[in-house]
């Protein structure tokens, strides 16, 4: 299993309008997920729409690819 972290300490707005802090953006075996500090995956009604604050420790290409992949998954 490979795990790559592309975003940490993220403040995001979800599809249901809720705002979450302390979110992590991960790529695990080609699957992209946003995960809260409590380990809750943000998907479906809580899928992430925008990011207001974050640290992005991966390369720009990786970050872009991860976000686009996530959106593809959530369609």
């Amino acid at each position: 299993m490979s795990e790559h972290i592309c975003g940490i300490q993220m403040s995001v707005t979800c599809a249901d309008g809720s705002k979450r802090d302390g979110v992590t953006l991960k790529v695990i075996d080609d699957v992209v997920l946003y995960e809260t500090a409590e380990g809750i995956r943000l998907t479906g009604n809580t899928k992430v729409l925008t990011t207001e604050a974050a640290l992005f420790p991966c390369t720009l290409e990786q970050l872009t690819a991860a976000i686009l992949k996530y959106r593809e998954q959530e369609q």
Binding site: Q9, T51, A53, L55, P57, E61, L68
Partner: protein, 654 residues
């Protein structure tokens, strides 16, 4: 020109740009005076030279020859931040293997450069191989690929200094499979050092239109750029926090392959093709994890390595690819860090000019050795005759022993003797044929420097000695034998013409010859040797001969100078006469005697006998042969005066 006005500048000749580039001294394949210069990159359409050489004993106890070359760079690549550099060396297959301690980059010898992992490899594929498999790239090392759109390169260092800016002009990712690696640059311990770029300091521009795509970029990925949302470089993450940083030399995004699929993201946000990304460092933090002590070293910054390819796997190009342009060329690949020495904290992506000594050049049919069991041996050579035959071979006019002697463009029957003569007097060709040449013009122009003439005789070209030789291919110092004697009876009345050489052509001069020094322990550059008759003043006019394209032995250069000066001193005139059709095998370079009656009004008629060397014979349709010949004086014993001076101590050399 009008009246006394100056001449106007002539118009340029169209369609000569590639030729002009070939002729540009800056395109020289041989080292010039300035060795500490940037690597020259080959121009498209540039002629691949022929490197013809063989280092060998000169009969005086010293090895001479080989070639120092400054090859142009044709391709570069970077794999895990190790550079690969490909240089075009020569048409044909080079016999020598590249040697590290014979190779320099600028003024640094590769044997003693900081990167001790450097390797040098030759790559070569025959025309037959590539004809059978056109997509079989000869560069088989896996670092550099033949496809012009398959490449990798380094970005400039993105410095870890607040306010430092990075400008990356990306290649259009919609056209290429791609990947980008990122390396940590610095010194000492950097395991708690990170750099932050605020998203508000990040901009995207379309290269085609210059349009600012920053807002579209962030909108597309759902990020609101702000001074508190950061891209973080060099961080190690765990549990949602930065727990440390990468050490110097750590590479992110490995492995390189498989490459990522082409993507259309930038096109989707309004780019017309490739984009430029600018970013500026906001924060450098040497204690990213406050639980750990600060880094004791210095993070210099981050550097990207980009890989792009038209194909998913560059090692397996599709069958439609055609690399036949790489056929029958020897390429040198250098793998390792030969980049310019870093100024503190910078990582240059350029190199100094490469110089390399080849002791043995291209493999050729050794006509100089004659047929052995019905075929010619193959190997490197320093014999001028082998070079010319090689030129005819690659021009498809001859194919070794498979071409019958009678069908060969050059008479092959005397090549062994000619080569033996050259060996006897250390007249070797060690050089680079840098440009597209007319073979016959080239052979005719260079042959005199080897005491040879390249003549047309009986429907074939032929090498012939200029100086008389004996049966052992030594210069004949004794009495000469004329091939033919012409008397008044053979010379058609009124056809004899004698022209004395101009005083300017006969005045005493100093001959300066440019040659090329080749020693394994230093990069060979041009040298000169000055030769004069001892009785000639040191301030006499100078004439210069350039033998630097092929002469690596000062003795060869001196020998040519003495022969030239002796000819100027002793050969006073030339003659021309007509004679009934010559049916003999008389040919240019043959020595003849001309016996004529000098008629005097005083009645003291005298017989005049002079020796000449035939320079040309024309057979006219009216049954007359016209002979042109140069004066070739002899003494009372019929020994050549020119030859005598070559072996007498009448020279001052400096």
């Amino acid at each position: 020109m009008n009246g006394f006005g100056a001449a106007e500048q002539p118009s340029s000749t169209p369609g000569r740009q590639a030729l002009r580039l070939d002729e540009d001294p800056a395109s020289s394949k041989a080292p010039l005076g300035d060795l500490n210069k940037s690597q020259r990159v080959a121009n498209a359409g540039e002629t691949v030279p022929i490197l013809f050489a063989k280092r060998a004993p000169n009969g005086l106890g010293a090895d001479v020859g080989g070639v120092w070359m400054q090859p142009p760079l044709v391709k570069t690549a970077s794999n895990e931040f190790v550079g690969s550099f490909v240089y075009a060396i020569s048409q044909g297959e080079i016999v020598s293997n590249p040697v590290k301690w014979f190779t320099w980059v600028g003024l640094r010898n590769l044997q003693h450069i900081e990167d001790q992992t450097i390797t040098l490899t030759h790559y070569y594929s025959t025309s037959a191989t590539l004809a059978a498999t056109p997509n079989a790239c000869p560069l088989t090392g896996g670092q550099v690929f033949c496809g012009i759109n398959t490449f990798s390169y380094l970005s400039e260092l993105f410095k870890a200094e607040v306010g430092a800016k990075s400008i990356q002009r990306l290649v259009d990712n919609s056209q290429y499979y791609n990947n980008s690696l990122l390396i940590t640059r610095g010194v000492g311990d950097t395991t708690n050092s990170v750099m932050f770029v605020a998203t508000s300091n990040y901009e995207v521009y379309d290269n085609g239109t210059g349009a600012d795509l920053t807002a579209a970029y962030f909108a597309a990925i759902g990020i609101t750029p702000s001074p508190t949302t950061y891209f973080v470089y060099n961080a190690i993450i765990s549990g949602g926090s930065i727990i440390g940083a990468h050490p110097v030399g750590y590479i992110q995004n490995l492995p390189i392959y498989p490459l990522n699929l082409p993507n259309f993201f930038y096109l989707s946000i309004g780019a017309t093709g490739s984009v430029t990304i600018t970013q500026e460092v906001s924060i450098v933090n040497n204690q990213a994890n406050p639980s750990n002590p600060p880094s004791t070293g210095t993070l210099y910054g981050m550097q990207y390595e980009y890989h792009l390819s038209e194909f998913a796997d560059p090692n397996s190009p599709p069958g439609t690819e055609d690399y036949t342009a790489f056929a029958d060329i020897t390429f040198l690949q250098v793998d390792g860090n030969i980049y310019d020495p870093p100024d503190a904290g910078s990582y240059p992506t350029t190199t100094q000019q490469l110089y390399i000594l080849y002791e043995e050049g291209v493999e050729v049919d050794l006509y100089s050795g004659g047929l052995v069991s019905g075929s010619y041996a193959k190997g490197a050579s320093n014999q001028f005759v082998d070079l010319i035959m090689y030129m005819f071979t690659i021009y498809k006019r001859i194919e070794g022993a498979a071409t019958a002697e009678i069908a060969a463009p050059v008479d092959t029957t005397n090549l062994v003797d000619i080569a033996a003569y050259c060996s006897n007097y250390n007249l070797y060709f060690n050089g680079i044929v840098p440009q597209s040449m007319n073979i016959v013009e080239y052979a005719s122009s260079i042959a005199p420097y080897f005491d040879l003439a390249f003549i047309s005789n009986g429907g074939q070209y032929q090498f012939a000695n200029i100086l008389p030789v004996d049966g052992s291919n030594q210069i004949e110092q004794g009495a000469l034998t004329a091939v033919a004697t012409f008397t008044e009876d053979e010379i058609l009345p009124g056809s004899f013409n004698k022209s004395y050489k101009s005083a300017d052509d006969r005045r005493d001069v100093i001959a300066v010859v440019v040659w090329r020094e080749v020693a394994p322990d230093k990069i060979g550059i041009q040298r000169t040797v000055s030769v004069r008759y001892t009785d000639v003043s040191i301030d006499a006019p100078i004439i210069q001969f350039d033998m630097s394209d092929f002469c690596t032995d000062v003795g060869h250069a001196q020998g040519y100078a003495t022969a030239e000066l002796a000819r100027r001193r002793h050969s006073t005139h030339s003659i021309s006469f007509s004679t009934p059709l010559l049916t003999t095998s008389l040919k240019p370079t043959d020595l003849i005697k001309v016996e004529r009656q000098r008629i005097s009004s005083r009645g003291d008629n005298r017989q005049e006998i002079e020796w000449y060397q035939i320079s040309s014979i024309k057979h006219n349709s009216d049954g007359v042969s016209v002979v042109d010949a140069d004066h070739f004086p002899v003494d009372n014993n019929d020994s050549s005066l020119i030859v005598a001076d070559l072996f007498n101590n009448v020279w001052t050399i400096s």
